[in-house]
Symmetry: C2
Subunit: 356 residues, 2 copies
């Protein structure tokens, strides 16, 4: 990131366990957070926020302006997952996504949705020959088709028209692309792939292409290429090791990162950072996976994604050393135990043991 | 399809070989077409149309209104691929896609973009355990984000805004969804999966969901489910055999069918039908793959996708028996030779031999 924070001795973390498996995986993430920080003499002040389907059912509130203001006082947010039980008609479809998840991203200006994909030793890819997968998707987080700009005319009739407007700004794309180049320049392979669909989405596509070219001129050491989103999905299954940093729009990033999670052994392992790289508001770190109500409360969920999200959070907060310690512990635990049948807490404890 | 054509004894086929590997694969498709039709006493009148990058370079024309009118006189169009050599600056980016491919789809009202995915014996999937893959994607072809509706404000400046408007109509979605249900009802598993992203693209998503529900009521024998597009990409790599018929929008269909092509052994094998199911204009059949200029003229391209597209064309034109013969011949050839190193013509000849 552009701004390197000094390593602070005190961290204020807002914790949102959420619904379903959220509380279980966040509990393990907190154990790991507590262990690495206390060993390093860093104090952590945490506050839990009740946000999600259960909270909505109890109070009728999704995310109030008041809660949003309170969250702003924290250094970062550690987020589990939100989601109603499947078929629970009491929670209107999409309300949690839009009024909680997307509201957080848009209000706190999380313009970089950062999603690393790595095939860890001990994990099994559905690909026969996955190769050494280690790339990061830098997904736009605050505009594109997610802008919520669209509508319905003659709704519910045979003459209905429904629109979705993808809004893309030089302002938004420029800061995203700059972040992606800075990241690529720091990585070993120094490669950046723009993924879009500029042969069809010509306006947005051209904007992305222009800014990648413009900003790329400042980073001659970074090799740039381009793939249409459809072709990118092919390479993600036939040669995912070719990717280093992918920069892409909000919707393409959503699709590519779920696919990337799948080919690296499941989204139970994939973390995400919703990052405000200007640091004008707290960033948020979460597993890519959802609340998985079908296995909630059964200690069946894999806490690795939540734990790796915690490492991303520490990195963002100026503690790359602590982030690296967590990652190394996860890697060792996975190498030893792989996808063995262990409870959520056993996996967390295994990682804790590797930290010790 | 809704209308079942009687098996006509004479067929008028417009052939567009196009650029790159297009002419090579279309030549094999024509051999196969000639063989099955003449054996069945069906006469085929063919005319070749010069359309594509080379034609554009020679004449400055993409697809004239005159050519479009001429094409309307044919029963169907057999299409290879169009595309300039990579880095050929003389062909403006996107012009062939928009002024040829998309213009054909929109002008001839190809509202169903039909893309079967099947893992044939002898072919190798990049998935370690692909299972028995056999599904069809029914992709919308004439609206959605492909409508070409969007623009730029303050283009080229730091204050640029670029929009892409996805246009979705009850008219367009209804006919697509009806086609998908009719297809699902005819298949063994009778399963239809709607893929969209209605938690974010609420307007378009709701329209699709409403029409699937409405039309689904007429098809109680078809089991319906729903997946977000991101989740669908996961299942395409972890359990593609779960799918039977997928109905989805234009852009999601573009992405999913490339991914589907990859998991079934490469888009060298994947055919597509751009179908006007009301038969008010000729439908068009093509390989999903592009013109692959890097291997053009070297007899390296796999003609199977083009040959299977020819089978789809015959099926559409009222000759399901001839379509089935071609498919069986392809299947046998693949089972015997797999992805063995053969020239384009050798593969075509191998399939011809199986037909005999
Ligand atoms: C739940 C949904 C709104 C969200 C998204 O589409 O961004 C999710 O899929 C994700 O990737 O974080
Ligand atoms: C070339 C391009 C316009 C086209 C599309 O996006 O539909 C292609 O990818 C396809 O799938 O046929």
């Amino acid at each position: 990131e552009s701004t390197t924070a000094a390593a602070p001795a005190h961290l204020k973390i807002a914790v949102v366990p959420g619904d379903g498996i959220g509380p279980e995986v966040v509990a393990e993430a907190e154990k790991v957070l507590d262990a690495v920080t206390s060993a390093a003499g860093v104090t952590v002040e945490k506050r839990e926020f009740g946000i999600g389907a259960e909270h909505w059912l109890e109070t009728g509130e999704t995310l109030t302006e008041e809660t949003l203001e309170e969250l702003r006082a924290y250094d970062a947010i550690l987020f589990g997952a939100v989601g109603a039980a499947p078929g629970d008609q009491r929670v209107p479809s999409g309300i949690l996504e839009r009024d909680i998840l997307l509201k957080l991203r848009f209000s706190l200006d999380h313009y970089v949705n950062l999603r690393p994909s790595k095939l860890y030793p001990g994990t099994t890819s559905p690909l026969a020959d996955p190769g050494a997968i280690d790339f990061v998707v830098v997904r736009e987080g605050t505009e594109g088709p997610y802008a919520g700009n669209g509508g319905r005319l003659r709704a519910g009739t045979d003459a209905e028209i429904a629109t979705e407007v993808s809004l893309n700004t030089a302002y938004g794309v420029r800061r995203l692309v700059r972040y992606a180049f800075e990241l690529a320049a720091k990585r070993e392979r120094k490669k950046l792939t723009l993924v879009h669909k500029h042969n069809v989405l010509v306006n947005a596509g051209r904007l992305y292409a222009r800014l990648v070219e413009e900003i790329g001129a400042e980073f001659p050491q970074v090799v740039v290429d381009y793939l249409h989103v459809d072709a990118a999905t092919i390479f993600l299954t036939t040669d995912p090791a070719r990717f280093d940093v992918i920069v892409t729009d909000n919707l393409f990033g959503d699709i590519l990162t779920d696919l990337a999670g799948a080919v690296t052994g499941g989204i139970g392992l994939a973390p995400a950072g919703n990052i405000n790289a200007d640091r004008t508001a707290p960033s948020m770190f979460e597993p890519v996976h959802g609340s998985a109500p079908d296995i909630a409360g059964q200690q069946k969920a894999n806490p690795v994604a939540a734990i790796l999200a915690t490492a991303m959070m520490l990195d963002h907060l100026g503690h790359p050393d602590l982030a690296a310690r967590i990652e190394a512990a996860v890697e060792k635990d996975l190498a030893e135990h792989g996808t063995e049948d262990r409870s959520t807490a056993q996996v967390g404890d295994g990682i804790l043991a590797q930290l010790a």
